[in-house]
Structures are given as structure tokens and as C-alpha cells.
Symmetry: C2
Subunit: 107 residues, 2 copies
DNA sequence: ATGTAATATTGCAATATTACGATATTAAAA
DNA sequence: TTTTAATATCGTAATATTGCAATATTACAT
């Protein structure tokens, strides 16, 4: 054994865990922060900024992107990544709902 | 290689990632929800409720506890776990700060 | 078409996480 | 003191994650 037993939890809980996982690595938090600080963002910029290899950054970007947190637009041979603010705030809202409902019930 | 390169990030970012990690597993989310629903909580109750073995639950409880999210009081041979609401709300507040500052800077 | 720069994918090694059986610990009960 | 019930820890197997070198892809420039 070793894998998470996802089937024993509700869909809602699993989604929440998946969302949290995106934020559970400092590289991804740094990337999100960095993207938000720029007007736009090119992957190699982040490589210089953060100090991980290009493939590793690319992999983290993929995780962030698959969570729906990026909007990308092509600019010549490079890609301009932008934060999908709507989706980002959706994440925030879901997490706050979890926090609020959980805390309010407590002894 | 394979381990996270924690030294290349700021203390703040690392702390945030550590916090998110607590919420990045459905079992831990379920445990937090379950604890908050009860007045008090005994580990074996959660075992029946969630469907993981007693050692596994105990391990997850340890992670949650090490994050400072539990208040425990002994009741005979069992332990009454309670959510540390103050700490919980501290988490919420930190995460919201990250979300707000990140989103507001964005293009 | 060929070269070049930017990004993605593949393959793999190192490490971390998850889960559980077996066992230890703890404290009340008999 | 022995038993019993609740929880923690240990050891280990399975799986996931992280990181990077090598390579592939993509799209512009020459």
C-alpha cells in the first residue's frame, strides 16, 4: 500500500485536497508570486529568479496550469503566463468556506 | 535528487507551503471536519468514521497536531482532541494574505 | 530549409508520503 | 497485579513527488 485511498472521501474533500496541494510546494508559491508581480511572465525568467532548472520549473507550471490557475498567451516563441485571477479567487473562496464552516462548529 | 530545495525560498514561503501541506490530504481534511463537528473527539471514533487504520489516523493526527491545530485533553484512557481555533484562524489569515497580495498585483 | 531560442517531455534517481501490521505504551478497570 | 481498551510508535512496502540531464518540440529568424 501507500497511495491515498481517494474513494473513501467525498468529491468535495478530494477537490479541496487537490487545491491545497498546488500551494503545498514553495516553488509553486514562488512562481505564483512572481507571475503576479510581473505584467507578464516567461518561463526562463522564473528559472533565473527561483533557482531551479528549466524542466523543473516547467513541471511546476504544468501543475499550476492544470489546476486552472494560469492564463497563457503566446508572444513569439515565448509564452506569456498570467494568473487566472477568477480561478485564483475561486480557490480562495473555497478554502475560506472550509475554514469558516469547520471553525464555527467547533467546541 | 528529489527532495525539495527549501533553502532557496524565503522563510515565509516555506511556512506557507508547510501550512498548505496539512490541508493537502483528504484524510486530514476529513479529520479536521470531523473534529469540529463533535464536542470532543476520540481517535478510534475517527477510525470508524473515515475508514483508515488506527495507525494511519494516528499518523495524520500527528501531522495536524505538529502544525499546532489541535488542543488535546486527556479523559481517562482516551484523548479528547479539539480544534485549536485560534491557530486555525491564524492559518486562514496567512493564506488569505497570500491570496490577496498575489491577486492584487496581477496584470 | 536551416539555425536558434524558448518551452515541453521523457527517463531516471533521490526523497517523501501514505498505509498498515506488529508491537509498545499508557491508564483505567477488574 | 493482571487484564483490557485506547492511542502511539516502529518497520516496511507501495506509491507519489521532486529535480535534473538529455532530448523533443515549437515557432520565429536568417
Amino acid at each position: 500500500m501507500g497511495a491515498s485511498k481517494l474513494h473513501i472521501y467525498s468529491e468535495e474533500i478530494n477537490q479541496m485536497a487537490t487545491m491545497a496541494k498546488v500551494f503545498a510546494h514553495p516553488a509553486r508559491l514562488s512562481i505564483l508570486q512572481y507571475i503576479s508581480k510581473q505584467d507578464s511572465c516567461i518561463c526562463n525568467d522564473i528559472v533565473d529568479e527561483i533557482g531551479l532548472s528549466q524542466p523543473t520549473i516547467s513541471q511546476h507550471l504544468k501543475v499550476i496550469n492544470e489546476a486552472g490557475l494560469l492564463k497563457g498567451s503566446f508572444e513569439g516563441k515565448s509564452i506569456c503566463y498570467c494568473l487566472n485571477v477568477d480561478r485564483f479567487q475561486e480557490f480562495q473562496s473555497h478554502l475560506n468556506t472550509f475554514f469558516n464552516t469547520t471553525a464555527s462548529n467547533c467546541c
